[in-house]
């Protein structure tokens, strides 16, 4: 059984580049934590951008293309238009 989630619409998240979801791990045994997203043309520039924001707290950084990341939610304002 799945909870009452809707899939968030596939609307684009940036018009000036690609959007990248950012995850950081503070210590070797800490959980991977979603900390928002950055706009960048490539994974490497996304990583560079995320580093400037999170180097002071992150041991590892993951960047994942937002347009390849399907989000399913019980909150949010679009009511799962593209679900």
């Amino acid at each position: 059984m799945t909870a009452d989630r809707t899939r968030v619409t596939d609307e684009p998240r940036s018009a000036t580049g690609r959007e990248w979801e950012v995850f950081v791990r503070a210590d070797a045994d800490a959980p991977l934590k979603h900390v928002g997203s950055v706009t960048a043309g490539t994974a490497d520039t996304a990583h560079e951008h995320a580093s400037s924001l999170f180097d002071w707290v992150a041991r590892s950084i993951w960047v994942c293309p937002a347009d390849e990341t399907q989000r399913y939610t019980t909150g949010g304002v679009d009511g799962g238009r593209s679900a």
């Binding site: 609307e11 684009p12 018009a15 959007e19 928002g36 997203s37 950055v38 951008h49 924001l53 304002v77």
Partner: protein, 401 residues
Amino acid sequence: MISVSKLLCDLDAESDGLRYDAAAESSEEQITEDKQQRPVVVWNLTKQCNLYCSHCYAAADTETAPGELSTAEGKALLDDLADFGIPVVLFSGGEPMVRDDLEELIAYADDNGIRPVLSTNGTLITAERAAAMKDAGLKYAGISVDGLPERNDEFRGEEGAFDAAVRGIENSLDAGLKTGLRYTITEANAPDLPEVVDLLHDVGLDRFCFYHLDYGGRGADISNLDLSPADTRTAVRTVCDLTREYHAQGKEIETLLVGNYADAGFLVEYAREELGDQQADHIYRYLEANGGDPTGERIADVDYQGNVHMTQFWQGYSLGNVRDRSFGDIWSDDTNPLLAGLRDRDDRLTGRCASCQYRSICRGGSRLRALSAGGPFDPDPKCYLTEAEREPERTGDASAD
């Protein structure tokens, strides 16, 4: 946002300690404790604009970009903001007036107890639309002009933009809307500032907001047009002097500075020199209550695609998206280390900010410009205070050696 006119011309001893100015574009002070804890939300309704300004932080375009929040999503967002206790929503863009549901959204915000205010280039404010926005419940329109006609038109990428903005200002005032100027100060237009104030005061404006350039959107490409520290001092001093001159003549204009909290330290220094120690101390206490640079605390931004940002200028990093999660949940999520770190930044600030006597009224200045210089806790590269102003004891000791 620092109210120069209030601090230099009519600071009332009775009001000491009263927090003011939560509303970035609101003409009324927000004094309720509860509402003070919530940010003013800038909502970039669209990326589309009818102009193409060189300093646009939203990097707006003449075409509609995909993914704009629909009217229904916008109303759901306003519900969400109302539930969270947001005091003010600033409709911005792009150019918000290109959206034909603007009046509907203004009315919806107003009906839900959020104060709706507008930031616009003014060129689309006809008499009819001004009246419609006023009827919908709009409380304030901030209209951008960035220099005398020729300079403004060059900046805004269209001949006649200045005259069109002035017509917009007149229509707005005629409709009975509280209206003010937004002026982004750059190297190119700093000398025009007093004349623009004179000219628009004659048109009927009495509120003037001066923005320092922040480095988001196309603003980043023209960071080389930003003023030098010496020229910034001159421009801020001009704002202080002209405010006092107007008031001395009985013309009660309101003047505000936005986007560089080194202004707070400068104002205290200015007051000490021009008005005496008592007034300077009083101003310091007032600014301390105001809380310094507002990034991640007293100002928030939702862009046209629903991404939430820590200021309207800082669009390259998003805390989350309102299509996934409510604004209140995103904004309250202190497990985000950057958001939590910036809210509790005083002891994290590095370099010259760490030992600055004005740290608690400035809080390091623009965090976005700091990032352009290195990291989120670095000093704002556009701080223009001298070492003697920042650290009088140290420089005093040095000169004694």
